[in-house]
């Protein structure tokens, strides 16, 4: 497939950009922070996003969705990344929807997908147990008990864990790894929400002898590692798309500043020391655009995705977005260090997205392993 957006995708991009520019620019995030919003995102804005059809993008048409695929949702995430807009899009509309679409039973699809598409039901992937991402090291157990399973364990830093109606939980079962759909109001689930450094919220979630029916199993019993990896790769690609938007926006703000800020009687952008760094960053961002588009298209074309490409993309985007955000602060000088100025928000959000589903070093290592070295 050609590495360009088609007509429909270009329209989606335009409409996402104009909606977010007017309804949820960076000042929206600042307001949520300053008002110490309890959830860290706006339910009203989410309802508007649902009206725009965004949570329905990945859901097939037969379940009330739009069927625009991964490239579609990735385009929207790039735009929310640009505006640092907090929303359940990544966790529910991309990772969550992918989980149900890919592995859900007919019953799970029918009960969840229409509500996901409508934005009424929020999901969260609960997979991390250690501070450094190590999703295959799972101590949470699901023990068979007649027609049910009893789940016990603790997941940390669950993105959207503070608002999810249903958790997708990775567990050890008798002979391997299995994923379960666990409603948050099940007995024994306790959610400890917290605010992160980027003012988005997350939660630690404990499962104490939580009983779920065997129909809550998502995907194959004992053989769920492949599904977990697939969902993580979906999330990694989504986080990469968000970082792409973030990096482009912070770079464009920096360029504007280089052109308008004067010292020694000239714009600081006329200094070669800064020009060369800006030009290098421009090149890195062009590389990132190609990667994200290729990674999204590959998810649409390859049923099992391409783990090597997902890690390559996540690693490169984590590194480049971080470079863009730190260069932005340096080039803005003192004002870049102030809380009044928005630039710092980009570095903070970037830190969260880089860590989400494995940071750039984790993926550098995984990329090399997948290539056999």
């Amino acid at each position: 497939m050609a590495l360009v957006l088609n007509e429909e995708q270009l329209m989606l991009k335009d409409s996402a950009r104009s909606f977010l520019d007017s309804q949820a620019p960076v000042s929206h995030l600042r307001e949520l922070r300053d008002s110490e919003d309890r959830e860290g995102f706006s339910r009203e804005l989410w309802a508007e996003m649902a009206d725009m059809g965004w949570p329905a993008i990945l859901v097939p048409e037969q379940y009330g969705g739009l069927g625009y695929g991964y490239t579609g949702i990735g385009i929207v995430l790039e735009e929310t990344g640009r505006n640092l807009t907090p929303s359940p899009l990544l966790c529910t509309a991309m990772v969550g929807a992918a989980a149900i679409v890919k592995a859900g039973s007919d019953e799970q699809r029918e009960s969840l997908l229409p509500a996901v598409a409508g934005g009424q039901h929020l999901l969260a992937l609960a997979c991390d147990e250690s501070s450094r991402h190590a999703p295959h090291e799972i101590t949470t157990t699901a023990v068979k008990d007649g027609e049910s399973y009893r789940i016990s364990g603790r997941k940390i830093n669950v993105a959207d864990g503070h608002i999810a109606e249903t958790f997708i939980v990775s567990t050890q079962t008798a002979n391997g790894v299995s994923l379960f759909l666990v409603p948050k109001d099940s007995g024994g689930v306790s959610v400890e929400p917290f605010r992160q450094l980027d003012t988005h919220h997350a939660a630690n979630v404990a499962f104490d002898q939580v009983v779920v029916n065997k129909s809550s199993l998502l995907g194959p019993l004992d053989d769920g590692l492949g599904l977990l990896d697939y969902l993580l790769d979906v999330g990694r690609t989504g986080a990469s798309a968000e970082m792409l938007g973030l990096a482009q926006e912070v770079f464009s703000r920096t360029l504007d500043y280089l052109k308008e800020r004067k010292q020694f009687g000239v714009p600081i952008g006329s200094f070669q020391a800064l020009q060369h760094r800006a030009a290098q960053l421009f090149g890195e961002l062009e590389m990132c655009k190609s990667l994200v588009l290729k990674a999204l298209q590959t998810l649409d074309e390859e049923p099992d995705g391409d783990p090597e490409l997902a890690s390559l993309t996540k690693s490169k985007l984590g590194e480049t977005a971080h470079l863009a955000a730190t260069e932005a602060i340096q080039m803005h000088g003192g004002i870049g260090m102030t809380d009044d100025f928005d630039i710092g928000f980009f570095l903070k959000r970037c830190k969260i997205l880089d860590n989400l589903y494995g940071d750039s070093l984790y993926h550098l290592d995984r990329f090399a392993r997948l290539r056999g070295y």
Binding site: A2, L3, V4, L255, L258, K259, V266, P267, G269, S270, F271, Q272, L274, Q275, H276, A278, A279, Q280, F282, G283, E286, M287, C288, K289, S290, L291, L293, K294, L312, S315, K316, L364, D365, F367, A368, R369, R371, G372, Y373
Partner: protein
């Protein structure tokens, strides 16, 4: 799309039938590349046949119009041909500055007469071209060039010297920037001319590099007669042609950053040389550097692909040749630094031997010139900063 499916099948069949087995592997030595020209000595019958067969289809220059010796393919077909060539690891049938540098500006700015005179011999590999751009006092500041062309009515008499002429001693013809107006501002007095290098008064002298090899010459012009009908574009408007050619030259050089089809990835070279422990390359620091390099290698390949797809779709990235040139050459330098590290002390031997011993250090040294030739990395960054990013000064 159905047409392209047919085109792919037919192309694949034709290549299967016509690409000799020995041409289906990467170059091992510099001499494996075929550069054509009047004095071309083919390394083998296969090499000769491969060039002639490809030239007969116009596939040495797939997108050039048929009347100029090209294949007349559209961009989508050219991409398919490229993929099919890569699929069988086919060597390029012809390396040529005529194709990669002179062709594009000649097609765009040349008169019909000049196109018909020069393009078909380039496509067939009959005439080898050399580039006369840099001068001893005009490197990064190319437009300050001083080679002097005096107007004698129907011809010029040219005097001066050029430097860094790639394979100047092997060139049949030269395309060359000369100064025709000595009063005008430096960019405004330049003319783009072409002449046969066997003309009286042309001589070359090889320049020995740190690699011990001499791929470049100095070129001296002493009262050389150049016909006015061998000017591309207008007299004194050569800078327009020069810049257009440079952007193509830079794209060509950037391609060095991409792994040649059929070559072993750096990680595989390293795994064979150093071994693995538990599936992991034994040297962890080198492993991380290699992984970063291979990520960037993939980035460049995908971005070049995207740039081509965008041209096809009618949305152009703009003046990105400089970005590709910078990225590709810095990447190629990293590749050879890594290969030297992987080979360790074995790579320190200078004299040639079996297994190509002594080749690697010379290639490594040669790559140091990648970020200088065709405009230094710093010049490329200047161009990106000013033309793409719109930074002042």
């Amino acid at each position: 799309m159905a047409d392209n499916g047919t085109f792919r099948r037919e192309t694949r069949d034709w290549l299967e039938a016509n690409c000799p087995e020995s041409m289906r592997q990467p170059y091992n030595y510099e001499a494996d590349a075929c550069w054509g020209g009047r004095n071309c000595k083919f390394q083998s019958e296969d090499q000769k046949a491969w060039l002639q067969r490809m030239a007969s289809r116009g596939w040495t220059v797939p997108t050039w119009p048929k009347e100029y010796g090209g294949g007349g393919l559209d961009l989508a077909q050219a991409k398919i041909l490229k993929q099919e060539l890569a699929r069988i690891n086919a060597r390029p049938p012809l390396e040529s500055f005529g194709i990669s540098m002179l062709g594009p500006p000649l097609l765009k700015f040349g008169s019909e007469e000049l196109k018909l005179q020069h393009l078909p011999p380039i496509a067939r590999g009959e005439i080898r071209w050399a580039q006369g751009y840099s001068e001893p006092n005009a490197g990064s500041d190319l437009a300050s060039l001083q080679m002097r062309a005096d107007d004698m009515g129907d011809h010029f008499i040219v005097n001066g010297s050029k430097i860094w002429t790639s394979y100047g001693d092997k060139g049949d013809w030269m395309f060359c920037l000369v100064r025709t107006d000595f009063e005008a501002k430096k960019h405004a007095g330049i003319t783009f001319v072409m002449f046969d290098m066997t003309t009286e008064g042309v001589s070359t002298r090889p320049i020995k590099l740190i690699s011990g090899k001499s791929p470049f010459t100095e070129t001296f012009l002493d009262n050389v007669r150049v016909e006015k009908n061998q000017v591309i574009g207008e007299i004194n408007d050569g800078w327009t042609i020069a810049k257009y050619l440079l952007s193509h030259e830079r794209e060509m050089i950037a391609g060095a950053g991409i792994l040649a089809s059929g070559s072993l990835p750096v990680s595989e070279v390293a795994a064979r040389a150093l071994g693995r422990q538990n599936g992991i390359l034994s040297e962890p620091m080198l492993r991380a550097d290699i992984a970063r390099f291979e990520i960037d290698e993939r980035c460049l390949a995908l971005t070049i692909e995207r740039a081509r797809d965008e041209v096809k779709a009618g949305v152009s990235l703009g003046a990105v040749a400089s970005m590709f040139k910078y990225y590709g050459t810095e990447l190629n330098k990293r590749r050879y630094e890594l290969l030297m590290s992987v080979s360790g002390q074995e790579a320190l031997q200078w004299e040639g031997g079996e297994d190509g011993l002594g080749e690697l250090p010379k290639k490594w040294l040669r790559t140091k010139g990648n970020s200088i030739e065709g405009g230094t990395s710093e010049i490329q960054l200047n161009i990106v900063a000013k033309r793409i990013l719109g930074l002042p000064g």
